[in-house]
């Protein structure tokens, strides 16, 4: 097992290198000089300043050298300095990462609780009014883009009802609710449908009959026998939905003024603030790979038939 973990960690490094390399290559292809003009202003930068910044950031060197330098620094925990505020990337991204994690964790909790719960309900009451309602609501929700949902929620709860402030404070746990719901809605809807689908299959399995025949109460049959077997695809999905979470976070964070990495990433791309782009990507690959390692371990825990090797 230790060997398995070690191998996965080794692979994680490869993935990290791969992702950052791809990113570097992409950024290289984007036309324009990243420090050539001021961010967000019509004014040109003084050529002397540009030259100085290019040297400072090593942009005068070939891409390969830049990449190797970056990796070299990365190993030491240094992700470079950003182009606009000229502050260390780790310092800029650190608090944002914390904020986004809060959002993501809350969203995943919603995904699981609401998504799986509602999906299970639909499966148990197949073809009932519940099932129809769930199907309708989940599809309708998916039809609405995140930003519409977010803005409606914000409009209702912050502007109209004034239950929460418009400009939130990421350290207040109550204020994570709205953005988290916004972020979770689509995934929760998908989880609900996934759950419904697998659960319908599991419900017909013979071992469910065995449990009933044993006299296990219905609730327990569902909670133990059915759930455990239905939850495997859901776990998979939660693991992979991390990507869409981060993507959705861009929009959610924009709407709720949540100071997280999604927002930072999208602005950074627009501003060609490459150190931030690469920084976020590196973090997100890292987190993702770890997360999926956890998911794979959970698989093995949930389904003993799956052998990790």
């Amino acid at each position: 097992m230790g060997r398995y973990l070690l191998r996965r960690l080794g692979q994680m490094i490869v993935v990290l290198l791969g992702a950052t390399l791809i990113l570097f290559a992409c950024l290289f292809v984007i036309p324009g000089d990243p420090v050539g003009s001021l961010a967000g202003s019509e004014r040109a930068r003084d050529p002397a300043v540009v030259k100085q910044l290019r040297e400072h950031y090593g942009l005068d060197k070939p891409l390969a050298v830049q990449y190797v330098t970056y990796i070299g620094h990365l190993v030491q925990g240094d992700m470079g300095e950003d182009y606009t505020q000229r502050r260390p990337v780790t310092e800029i991204l650190g608090p944002k990462l914390v904020n986004t994690s809060k959002l993501a964790v809350a969203a995943i909790v919603f995904d699981v609780l609401i998504g799986a719960g509602v999906g299970a309900l639909a499966a148990l009451r197949r073809y009932s009014i519940w099932d129809t309602v769930v199907t309708l609501v989940t599809t309708v929700l998916v039809g609405f883009p995140t930003f519409v949902i977010g803005m409606l929620l914000l409009n209702l709860f912050a502007v109209q009802l004034k239950w929460v402030p418009v400009i939130g404070d990421a350290s207040d746990p109550v204020q994570v609710i709205l953005p988290a719901i916004t972020l979770a809605v689509i995934d929760a809807a998908l989880v609900a449908r996934l759950m419904r689908g697998t659960m319908l299959e599991v419900l017909r399995a013979d071992y469910v009959k065995t449990a009933i025949a044993k006299g296990v109460p219905r609730r327990q049959v569902l909670l133990k026998h059915v759930l455990r077997n239905s939850v495997i695809p859901v776990v998979t999905y939660i693991g992979i939905s991390f990507g869409s979470l981060l993507g959705g976070a861009i929009i959610t964070e924009t709407i709720f003024n949540w100071d997280g990495v999604g927002m930072a990433m999208s602005t950074a791309i627009q501003q060609q603030n490459n150190p931030i782009v690469v920084g976020v990507a590196t973090w997100s690959v890292g987190i993702f790979v770890v997360l999926n390692l956890v998911v794979d371990l959970m698989y093995a825990m949930l389904d003993p038939r799956i052998r990790l090797s």
């Binding site: 097992m1 230790g2 371990l297 093995a300 825990m301 003993p304 052998r307 990790l308």
Partner: protein, 336 residues
């Protein structure tokens, strides 16, 4: 005697035994099959009987190359097939077929019976030309006693016995030279069972097929087999002709087995002489030293724990009944 069509040599299959949920540690191996050798000749049926869990299905799977052997070889017509892959393996599989033990999981739930039974023809199109396939499938269903009208049904719409027959039909489709039947009739009622057995017999005499016939039902095994092998805990403990095994068993386990056969006649059931085996059932992960049967054997001596009896002709026996038996104290029992 001619060259055997199938020759199994020192076959070993160990499954790693792991512990723990997340961090699985290998704590040993299930010695499912531990050094088995036998031969199968053309037109012959070799019955294999033995305790449940003794490795019969594993032998079948290894023979089919569905599980890789840990050690040992399987020669088909002189060719070692244990390491084959790709085309060569496909060619061999065309001639060796397996009827699975479990009729529930061995049928694809999303294929109709017609598709399941017809699949062999699709894989080996040379066996039945395209236009003939449907008919061939119907004939096969008919042969195994299934209503050909069921061709469009799905496996879950059948009873266990009916499913087992679907599996047999699939195994027969290619009319292979060797069919390995892993308990093909265990779920059938006797009448259907009789049909299937008759069918197997008939196919054999017609096409000179060879069978490896794994079953628990000793009467059926006797009926169909030319030779019978008795397995115990991953080992072959006795092998001989049907006559030799049933009439002159020399291994205590075989004797116990035969004594336990239920007789389909309720008269006098209260006073049957059964050898009831006592003692702890050993685990294949940690088999007893020496003779594996010694923990439950009434003849066991200290020697049995020290020296593993080899499968050979017992000393001091001769004549018609002489056959291989892996017991230090092999002897016929008076009672049977």
């Amino acid at each position: 005697m001619a060259e055997p069509i199938l020759k199994v040599d020192g076959l070993v299959k160990h499954f790693p035994l792991t512990q723990g949920i997340v961090f699985k540690r290998r704590i040993g191996a299930v010695q499912a099959v531990d050094g088995i050798s036998f031969e199968l000749h053309k037109g012959e049926t070799l019955g294999i009987v033995g305790e449940s869990g003794c490795g019969k299905s594993t032998v079948a799977k290894v023979l089919m190359n569905l599980e890789r052997a840990t050690a040992g070889q399987v020669h088909y017509k002189g060719q070692d097939i244990t390491g084959l892959t790709g085309k060569a393996l496909k060619a061999v599989r065309r001639n060796i077929q397996l009827v699975f033990q479990d009729p529930y999981t061995s049928l694809n739930p999303r294929m109709t019976v017609g598709d399941i039974v017809g699949e062999p023809f699709e894989i080996h199109p040379e066996v039945a030309p395209k236009g003939n396939r449907r008919k061939a499938v119907q004939d096969l269903l008919d042969v195994v006693g299934l209503n050909p009208e069921y061709i469009n049904r799905y496996p879950h719409q059948f009873s266990g016995g009916q499913r087992q027959r679907i599996g047999i039909a699939r195994g027969l489709a290619l009319k292979p030279e060797i069919i390995i039947c892993d308990e093909p009739v265990s779920a059938l009622d006797v009448s259907v069972q009789a049909q299937v057995i008759n069918l197997l017999d008939q196919l054999q005499s017609e096409f000179d097929l060879s069978y490896v016939f794994i079953a628990h039902d000793l009467s059926i095994v006797r009926h169909i087999s030319d030779r019978v092998g008795v397995m115990y805990l991953g080992k072959m403990v006795e092998i001989g002709t049907e006559e030799q095994i049933y009439e002159h068993p020399t291994h205590p386990y075989t004797q116990a087995l035969l004594s336990a056969v239920p007789v389909p006649d309720p008269t006098g059931r209260e006073d049957r002489h059964r050898i009831i085996l006592s003692g702890e059932l050993p685990s294949p992960a940690n088999p007893p030293s020496g003779c594996r049967f010694r923990t439950r054997c009434w003849k066991a001596q200290p020697r049995c724990g020290e020296e593993e009896p080899l499968l050979a002709n017992p000393e001091g026996m001769a004549g018609e009944a002489l056959h291989h038996s892996a017991c230090h104290f092999a002897a016929e029992r008076e009672h049977v």
